[in-house]
């Protein structure tokens, strides 16, 4: 009986060498050297240092909301302006943290505390390792406020 051996080896995925394209005029421009291929990097996740940190962002959200609504009473005319301004403030503070390539969403809900039942729910289809949410709820005698900040890579 003949002995046959076969082996399996993993070949690094460089593009095929241009033995097939040597006759084409543009062969030089298509191929890259092995060196260049090794250096190309496609970043699909941020490094740990640069991931969105929910705790740090929650501190910011808490600080902005507390400061803004500190002594305010619910006012049907002004409250819509308050929601917009709080959202803008939170967004600009998060931008200062300089998370690279992150997109931010901020949603602020303010309601009058009149005994009505409210339920706010949220679900997301994202990559849970890189995308996070920070939320904070404040309640006082006349109003309640829920602010949510999302960071998506």
């Amino acid at each position: 009986s003949t002995q046959s051996t076969w082996g399996f080896s993993v070949v690094p995925s460089f593009p095929p060498i241009d033995r097939f394209t040597k006759n084409m005029a543009s062969s030089e421009s298509i191929t890259k050297t092995a060196q260049e291929n090794a250096e190309e990097k496609y970043q699909i996740k941020p490094s740990y240092k640069n991931t969105f940190k929910p705790r740090a962002v929650q501190q910011i959200v808490k600080q902005v909301v507390d400061e803004y609504l500190q002594q305010k009473q619910y006012d049907p005319n002004e409250t819509s302006n308050w929601t917009k301004e709080i959202a803008q403030l939170i967004k600009s503070k998060i931008k200062e943290l300089k998370y690279a390539r992150y997109k931010f969403l901020v949603q602020v809900v303010i309601g009058e505390a009149k005994g009505a039942g409210v339920r706010i729910g949220c679900r997301c289809l994202w990559d849970s390792q890189t995308d996070k949410v920070a939320e904070y709820t404040l309640q006082n005698d006349s109003l309640w406020c829920c602010a949510m900040a999302f960071g998506i890579y």
């Binding site: 619910y74 049907p76 929601t83 959202a87 969403l105 901020v106 309601g111 505390a113 409210v118």
Partner: protein
């Protein structure tokens, strides 16, 4: 402009998502009366149903879906959102719905991968 199959740049389709949301809210809340015990289930049901249909559309987007259900009591409610994203490809859609006893606001944010 050429349209690639599933991958490639696609813009957020407002009308499609709006219909989707409306179709998701109606069967869950319909003519129900606000009940504090059930509201959590309704909330989850609406959000999950919206998310499932968005996922079935098979587009290269990440989604954030929020749902606010509030009892009608004469109390006021204000909501605002602001976003830092790519304005060409990303978008949001917000739908307000109500019946005799409650209000619902569902917002979908879609961010291109």
């Amino acid at each position: 402009m050429e349209e690639a199959a599933d991958a490639g740049p696609q813009n957020f389709d407002y009308d499609e998502v709006k219909n989707l949301i409306e179709q998701a809210i109606e069967p869950v809340l319909g003519k129900n009366v606000y009940q504090p015990k059930k509201v959590q289930d309704w909330n989850s049901a609406i959000v999950e149903s919206v998310l499932k249909s968005l996922q079935a559309a098979n587009k290269p987007f990440k989604y954030v879906v929020t749902c606010i259900i509030m009892q009608k009591n004469g109390a006021g409610l204000h909501t605002a959102s602001t976003c830092y994203w790519d304005t060409k490809t990303d978008g949001s859609c917000s739908v307000r719905w109500d019946n005799a006893t409650m209000n619902a606001i569902v917002t979908v944010f879609a961010l291109h991968i």
